[in-house]
Point group: C2
Chain length 253, copies 2
Amino acid sequence: MQRYFVSKNNIATDGHIIITGDDARHIQKVMRMRPSDRMICADNSGNAYQCVIEACGDDQVHAYVQNKLTADPELPIYVAIAQGMPKSDKFDTIVQKGTECGASLFIPFQAERSIAIWKEEKKDKKLLRLKKIGKEAAEQSHRLYIPEIVNPMGLDQLIAFSASFPFRIVAFEETAKSGEQAVLPELLGKMHRGERLLAVIGPEGGLTLEEAQKLKDHGFALCGLGPRILRTETAAVYLLSAISYHFELQQVR
Amino acid sequence: MQRYFVSKNNIATDGHIIITGDDARHIQKVMRMRPSDRMICADNSGNAYQCVIEACGDDQVHAYVQNKLTADPELPIYVAIAQGMPKSDKFDTIVQKGTECGASLFIPFQAERSIAIWKEEKKDKKLLRLKKIGKEAAEQSHRLYIPEIVNPMGLDQLIAFSASFPFRIVAFEETAKSGEQAVLPELLGKMHRGERLLAVIGPEGGLTLEEAQKLKDHGFALCGLGPRILRTETAAVYLLSAISYHFELQQVR
């Protein structure tokens, strides 16, 4: 069933929902939905409802809540991906696939070897685009929350920002090459539901030794993501899949 | 260091290597390598060597083996991905990322809901293209083997083919929605190094109930890949990452 995120302000306590903007147009023009058709609305605050359309207007769709959904498709831990800025449109892929796999926050990280630099005048447009991709991927994958995407950060800013994360890792190719594999499962084994993990992933050329060392000095654990060399746009999906497997598949046993 | 796959026939027992074709041109024209430059050559039979270039000719590069590499970046189990044929160029992405993540075999699977159909006259060209993508991804990710890509199969052919796989699973969205999560870790827990797993993944619209039931009747376990709905091109990467986490990261402890 088609899903939409609706501002909490547009969901009344009596269950009446107003959908506006692009989504209202999408419901009517693309999905060609009509009164009595059903859809799912999520409020980006942890709730999702099965709804029935009451009326379609020019720029608005009115619906009412039929029942609240009980499924919780969110990862048990909060995962932030600090992604070394990659080339071309790879960040689009990373946000789309990373959202599907459960990431809660993306931080574009201006690494030493990042070739792409977001020009100031294009930054807002790029962020808007990534946020839209995140919202659509959250709808498609049945998430309850749209991931946040913040302004790009340099290394020092990222380290300052990381203070609110009790668990911090760096996916470091050189660590992987040296055969280190146990850090990630050991760290996940220490984490509990609701805790926060920040993961730094390098750009195409990887992180420099200096960047990795500085992050290590600030409490980041260097870890490998298996013995194969992953492209930068594959690393976040690998990590999030491993986290899902650990917390959602293995621990239900 | 740059890596190339070289036919075993072109690696003499005295360590002399001849590289021909596209790779010889790539070494000279793209990488601009010259005698005494080093590279890695893998024989697609489990061996990789650090080599030194001796001489560059028109269509050939001659090199000699300096030492054999000992790293083994192959997944401990053999994983075949039977991928429901997806739309547009998504199969390219699946082969590229799936190879990075360790898959050994890709089977294009003509599912009931597959919209794309490979026309007979284009089939060979498409297979060649996927094989090239697989080879390049294997080089980039430091694999020892190039994944195999076979001709498209229908459901009955796939079931007959699956007889050589003692472990068989189907990633089924309806199973995931019903909250089933334990099948995959239970199955991986039973597998040992070198054993063979065949995983069926549906196309964009998913598998039909009839397809899933028929596979189940033939010994395939239906399994969920976490509580979020993954796009068809994300499912193989999720699965392979979970397998890597299980066998390569957790079991080294």
